[in-house]
């Protein structure tokens, strides 16, 4: 297999992996509702130690709903930009070798 074919098939495999859960849930009655493992773990703590109360809260208020999505998107976007910047820079510096 040529490197290019291999790269594309890896990419395809990855996208498939992302798409399958979405498809499964579109087909089921539940609709697209994904519960985060974070909140599931918090629930599990509630079952194991029902009298436990977090003894300290977040410094900044927990962002909710769309704001949370936006912040996570921003983080992902910034990181991706940095990632491609590094790839680009290494490409230039590597060209001289």
């Amino acid at each position: 297999m040529s490197p290019r074919v291999r790269t594309w098939s890896l990419l395809g495999l990855f996208l498939l992996l992302l798409a399958i859960p979405q498809l499964l849930h579109l087909l089921s009655d539940a609709g697209l509702q994904f519960v985060g493992t974070d909140s599931q773990a918090t629930d599990a703590i509630g079952q194991l130690a029902s009298d436990y109360r977090p003894w300290i809260g977040n410094i900044l208020p927990v962002p909710e709903g769309e704001m949370e999505g936006l912040l996570f998107l921003l983080q992902g976007g910034l990181g991706t930009a940095a990632l491609f910047y590094c790839l680009h820079r290494s490409r230039r510096s590597g060209g001289n070798e």
Binding site: F14, L18, H25, V62, L71, S90, G95
Partner: protein, 226 residues
Amino acid sequence: MHIMEGFLPVEHALAWSVAAVPCVAVGLNSIRKSVRRDPEAKLLLGLATAFTFVLTALKLPSVTGSSSHPTGTGFGAVLFGPLAMAPIAFMVLLFQALLLAHGGLTTLGANVISLGVAGPLAGYALFRLGRMLCLPGGLSLFLAVAVADLATYLVTACQLALAFPEPQGGFLAALVKFLGVFSLTQLPLAVGEGIVAVLVFRALAKHSLGDLTKPGRSLKSGEVAS
């Protein structure tokens, strides 16, 4: 996941924080050495940090109907050795705890241990094992990254089970419960993370850094790029 703010009892939070300090210190030292040996490594370190930064921000849906995020630490561990990842994880976690209310300051130590120490160590060990068994470089990288992801969640589950043992069954019963939350959800994400790491490495190896076997680097680019 990162353990949320306040969701570890005071003693546990303190103990994990104390444990995390030397790990970060040793990691900083290891990074300093890598950079002194090879100034170009700075760029790669930035790349490894960005990779972890992005992947821990991705809350991806999984087949179980839950969503979770990958870890991204196995990639840097393979490039720079497992020690370098503790300070990187610390930076990423601090940012997320302060600005995103994802994780927390009191649980920072515990999260550094799972994300920045345990995951990278497990991933790196598997990578070395893969190379010893003469597996192809790409496959070794894939396995290392996937296992680093899973090991991180395994350790998180242990930390939670230690803090919240089941009244009857104790630590083990609680561990099973927490693993039940993570394991199935995390499996496809770990596989996906492994694939992405191989893709990023190939992009890196194809155009630049013709040789990643400089001191402190453990992979020949040709081994993954072909």
